[in-house]
């Protein structure tokens, strides 16, 4: 037995002793859950990796807590507003920190939070904050990244069209992304990126310039009164996201206290997404307690255009925000509308009280007009949109109040009002009320709402985090909401509610168990009735999830997960879903790898389950599992720096390779329309090379 057993376990151990630090960025589990919640809400995988890039940069150049402003700490997205306010007050009251151990004395900061922060913070005394501009051009980090991915099975879109009118993909099946960035301690960053999606032509056809999407950014921070200046592509964030929010944001997730939108006014944009950013100039100035920002941007966007039946100019009926320009029809829509935008904000930044006004204006070179449907009654019409808002936040002892009131140019109002309260060291509460008129219109906005955009919604959210003993934490939230007007696929005013309960148990530093229950009730059309309008059904979706995360050592890690889902209710055929997942990872001496299996079985697409899996660094993989089948992946990373002679610590050359396959049972094809793949198997290969130097 010994003879046969040993080789077998060499094989198993080699395969299974693998941990998921193929991503070097510290990736808290809560971040995974937030990404899953976001992917489910938006129905697509996120593309913006700014947060991961920022964390990577902060791990290389940790924030000096004695010089950090609240805005600097916000960029970590690991602290809530009350914790940041408490820290700033603590430092002001007691002077600069002497050691990191002192952080345990900051009200609202617990060991778990400090442990998560440790890779990104440090304490230094009398260190100059600013560096002269000419010094920033050298000494920073240059990063060049190339990523390619391809689904190996040919979908229908890549096959020769059977008729001249048939739609097809004009380009090849590879997805390619390149990016160069230079970053000097977040004080100076510039770079460019290019992105080609699968099916888009490359150096031929409509994309003779190569990539379908190019992006350039130049971003400078902290130059005297100039807080930040952006040239090229950048994102804009205002207030609580009612009129504008393009940066990092969380939706309802296990982070039940993360209900406040927090980010700098402008941030550099360097992601593969082709829609949610501005292209132009932005500047943010600060003098004493007054901060102001202005942006002006002009960019071509892709829209679906239609001829005006009355003989007027062509209109556009929707934004094509997928970024796909693969078929002749999609290529015809590419960059066909000019969008000019301008905006600004002026804020008073007191110690405990901050308040400001914001405005943003959009102008298009052709009118916007959605299809004439009842649910589109209040949608945008014409070429202009202007939004204004006033936002504030106020910290009073252990309570942090924040809010925003906004109006569009037709005086439709939107209101957000929230509070974060720390009752004691074990219990935090968060409340958020929103009341957004059905007629309120905004673009590139992202508030903490049930809808994808802040519109047509009233609701009240209450969340709490409770830590009764060390190692045990409960996250709970309840959200009730109503939609006063119709929505897409909901033919009547409707309502719903969410209830979420999660228990985190961490018996040791290396093991974590999570049990989650979620109950969602949200109205929708009864799809079974074949009538012009539908009865409204109120299905209840329930989820149960158990997760285990276990680190054997610093190098080896195991994850397991089981998720059950059920949908029941009037006019609803009961549906169920199941997902079982086991993953293992290994990371040591420049080599890391992940491997995972997922077994899934759901009745249909409605009972799909999203699950995060480790991917190439700066890339996300959050497949939605539906149908029946099994998926596995192997993600391998190797640091190849030693292959090239360099000064120690000044050069990094890394490569990633990921292979994944999904097998469906009982199907003859996968996908639909042009993405339909014959057979029951879908295989994807991804490769990435990253070169960093100083």
């Amino acid at each position: 037995m010994k003879f046969y057993g040993k080789p077998l376990f060499v094989i198993l151990a080699f395969i299974l002793n693998i941990r998921g630090y193929a991503q070097s960025v510290n990736d808290p589990d809560s971040r995974r859950e937030a990404l899953e919640a976001d992917a489910e809400r938006k129905g697509s995988e996120p593309e913006d990796d700014s947060y991961e890039l920022n964390l990577e940069e902060f791990s290389r150049h940790p924030i000096n807590l004695n010089a950090a402003s609240g805005e600097d700490l916000v960029q970590l997205h690991l602290l809530n507003a009350l914790q940041i306010a408490n820290f700033i007050s603590y430092r002001k009251l007691l002077g600069p920190l002497l050691t990191l151990r002192e952080l345990q004395a900051v009200p609202g900061w617990d060991i778990e939070i400090i442990r998560e922060l440790l890779p990104y913070i440090r304490v230094a005394q009398n260190e100059p904050i600013y560096t002269v501009l000419r010094k920033r051009w050298s000494g920073g980090n240059g990063t060049f990244l190339v990523r390619a991915a391809q689904v190996l099975e040919k979908s229908r879109g890549f096959k020769k069209p059977v008729s001249p009118d048939a739609s097809y993909y004009e380009g090849s099946a590879q997805k390619i992304f390149i990016r160069y960035t230079y970053n000097y301690k977040q004080l100076l960053t510039y770079g460019f990126s290019g992105d080609k999606d699968a099916g888009e032509p490359f150096f031929r056809g409509a994309q003779r310039a190569g990539f379908d999407f190019y992006s350039f950014h130049f971003f400078l921070r902290q130059m005297g009164i100039i807080r930040a200046i952006a040239i090229g592509d950048f994102t804009v964030n205002m207030g609580q996201g009612l009129i504008q929010w393009q940066g990092f944001s969380l939706t309802k997730s296990s982070q039940s206290m993360a209900i406040k939108r927090e980010a700098a006014f402008i941030e550099p944009y360097h992601s593969a997404g082709e829609f949610n950013f501005h292209r132009g100039i932005g500047i943010c100035l600060q003098k004493g307690k007054w901060q102001s920002g202005f942006i002006i941007s002009s960019q071509k966007i892709s829209t679906n255009t239609e001829s005006d039946s009355s003989g007027g100019e062509d209109i556009f009926s929707s934004f094509q925000n997928s970024g796909y320009h693969r078929t002749p029809a999609e290529i015809a829509d590419r960059n066909n509308t000019r969008q000019i935008s301008a905006g600004g904000s002026i804020h008073y930044l007191g110690n405990r009280f901050q308040m400001g006004i914001n405005w943003i204006h959009f102008k298009f070179n052709r009118p916007f007009q959605k299809q004439d449907e009842p649910y589109n009654l209040y949608s945008l019409k014409g070429t202009l949109l202007t939004d204004y808002s006033i936002d504030y936040n106020y910290t009073l002892s252990n309570m942090h109040l924040f809010g925003e009131i906004a109006s569009d140019r037709w005086r439709h109002l939107a209101l957000m009002q929230g509070a974060l309260i720390s009752l004691n060291e074990n219990l935090d509460l968060g409340f958020l009320y929103r009341n957004i008129s059905p007629g309120y219109l905004s673009l590139y906005s992202d508030a903490f709402t049930e809808n994808n955009v802040p519109n047509n919604e009233k609701g009240f959210y209450a969340g709490l985090t409770f830590r009764p003993v060390a190692g045990l934490q409960a996250n709970i939230y309840c959200d009730v909401f109503m939609f006063p007007w119709l929505k897409y696929a909901v033919d009547a005013p409707s309502a719903g509610r969410d209830f979420f309960f999660q228990l985190n148990f961490q018996p040791t530093k290396t093991a974590r168990f999570t049990a989650t229950y979620k109950n969602e009730m949200k109205s929708g059309n009864n799809g079974d009735l074949n009538t012009a309008t539908h009865e409204i059904s109120l299905p209840v979706k329930q989820r149960w999830r158990v997760e285990t995360n276990y680190k054997i050592s610093g190098a080896i890690h195991f994850d397991g997960r089981i998720e059950l889902l059920s949908i029941t209710g009037n006019y609803t055929i009961p549906q169920t879903g199941f997902l079982g997942m086991a993953g293992m990872g290994f990371s040591k001496a420049g080599i890391s790898a992940d491997m995972g299996f997922t077994l899934f079985e759901t009745d249909n697409y409605d009972s799909r389950i999203y699950a995060y899996e480790p991917d190439l660094i700066y890339n996300f993989s959050l497949p939605s599992y539906y149908g029946k089948g099994i998926h596995y992946y192997i993600n391998f990373h190797r640091d190849l720096s030693r292959l090239i002679s360099h000064k120690a610590g000044h050069f990094r050359f890394s490569a990633w390779l990921k292979w994944g396959q999904v097998y469906y049972r009982g199907v003859e094809s996968i996908g639909s329309e042009l993405d339909e793949i014959p057979g029951n198997r879908k295989s994807e290969l991804k490769a990435q090379v990253l070169i960093q130097w100083q």
């Binding site: 094989i11 198993l12 395969i15 018996p507 285990t548 086991a582 077994l599 099994i630 596995y632």
Partner: protein, 276 residues
């Protein structure tokens, strides 16, 4: 280089497993014995590895057992199982042979498991073969393999999972059916040396997810009692046993509301501890 070759070989086998996935065929449960002892340190016996092969690595001695059950009190559904497991070096093994049914319809299975101790973690693998005989319809057989893992989170808490995949075999000619895939996750908590709680969640292809929970309690050195529930069949499980030296006798019954009682008898023999 040998490692790489073996790695590639194993992955190739895995691909082969996946290639064979089609409509699954389900074989009848052969017995209703419920035990979460695969996720314990002190409650393991010869049958434990049926829930997770990696637990064989935690066996402290050799154990063999015989199980007999009359399912729903029907002679035609009598089930018999012989099982043995024990430790070898820094690992353990398990094997089981099971049969149920009568001359008209019967089902047999052979299960081989091996586990390796890696410190706080144990890895295991399982290879099995199931075959059905139906008078007048011939025989069908399915082969499967699985991997499992068990983690000692604390001295009292053990968790683990197992994934089984069909490797070969099919039933029917027009729409051939393959064996089922199975994913199982379990948690065991030894509150005291004489009290053990276990929870298992199991999902097999095209079947409802099954949740089972059990409590085992030892009274002194000689007596023990167990109680469990099984969600899919809404069945209850009671077991009591008497132990004398290395021999143990257990009687149990499974109760299902619609189909009634399934009584069973188990004989277990355990060698003296070889490990601490």
């Amino acid at each position: 280089m040998k490692r790489e070759i073996m790695w590639v070989t194993y992955i190739s086998c895995l691909f082969f497993c996946l290639e064979t996935i089609a409509q699954p065929s389900h074989l009848q449960e052969q017995n209703g014995y419920i035990s979460g002892s695969a996720y314990s340190t002190h409650f393991m016996d010869a049958f434990s590895f049926s829930s997770n092969p990696s637990c064989t690595a935690g066996m402290k001695n050799f154990s063999a057992g015989v199980l007999m059950e009359r399912k729903w009190m029907l002679k035609e559904l009598n089930a018999y199982k012989i099982s043995a497991s024990g430790n070898i070096g820094n690992g353990g093994f398990g094997m089981a042979l099971e049969r149920s049914g009568d001359a008209l319809y019967s089902e047999q299975s052979l299960d081989l498991a091996y586990g390796k101790n890696l410190g706080k973690t144990e890895l295991g693998t399982r290879f099995g073969y199931l075959w059905d005989q139906a008078s007048g319809y011939g025989n069908i057989g399915f082969g499967y393999c699985g991997i499992g893992m068990r983690m000692h989170v604390t001295d009292k808490l053990i968790t683990g999972w197992e994934l089984d995949l069909p490797v070969f075999g099919k039933a029917g000619k027009t729409n051939p059916e393959k064996g089922a895939q199975l994913f199982r996750m379990g948690f065991g908590y030894e509150a005291e040396e004489d009290l053990f709680l276990a929870i298992q969640i199991e999902k097999a292809s095209d079947r409802s997810s099954n949740f089972s929970a059990s409590v085992e309690y030892r009274y002194g050195e000689q007596f023990f009692f167990s109680f469990g529930i099984n969600s899919v069949e809404a069945s209850l499980f009671f077991k009591s046993g008497w132990k004398k030296n290395q021999l143990c006798i257990q009687i149990y019954t499974v109760y299902e509301n619609a189909l009634g009682f399934s009584p069973g008898l188990v004989f277990l023999w355990q060698s003296k501890n070889r490990k601490g």
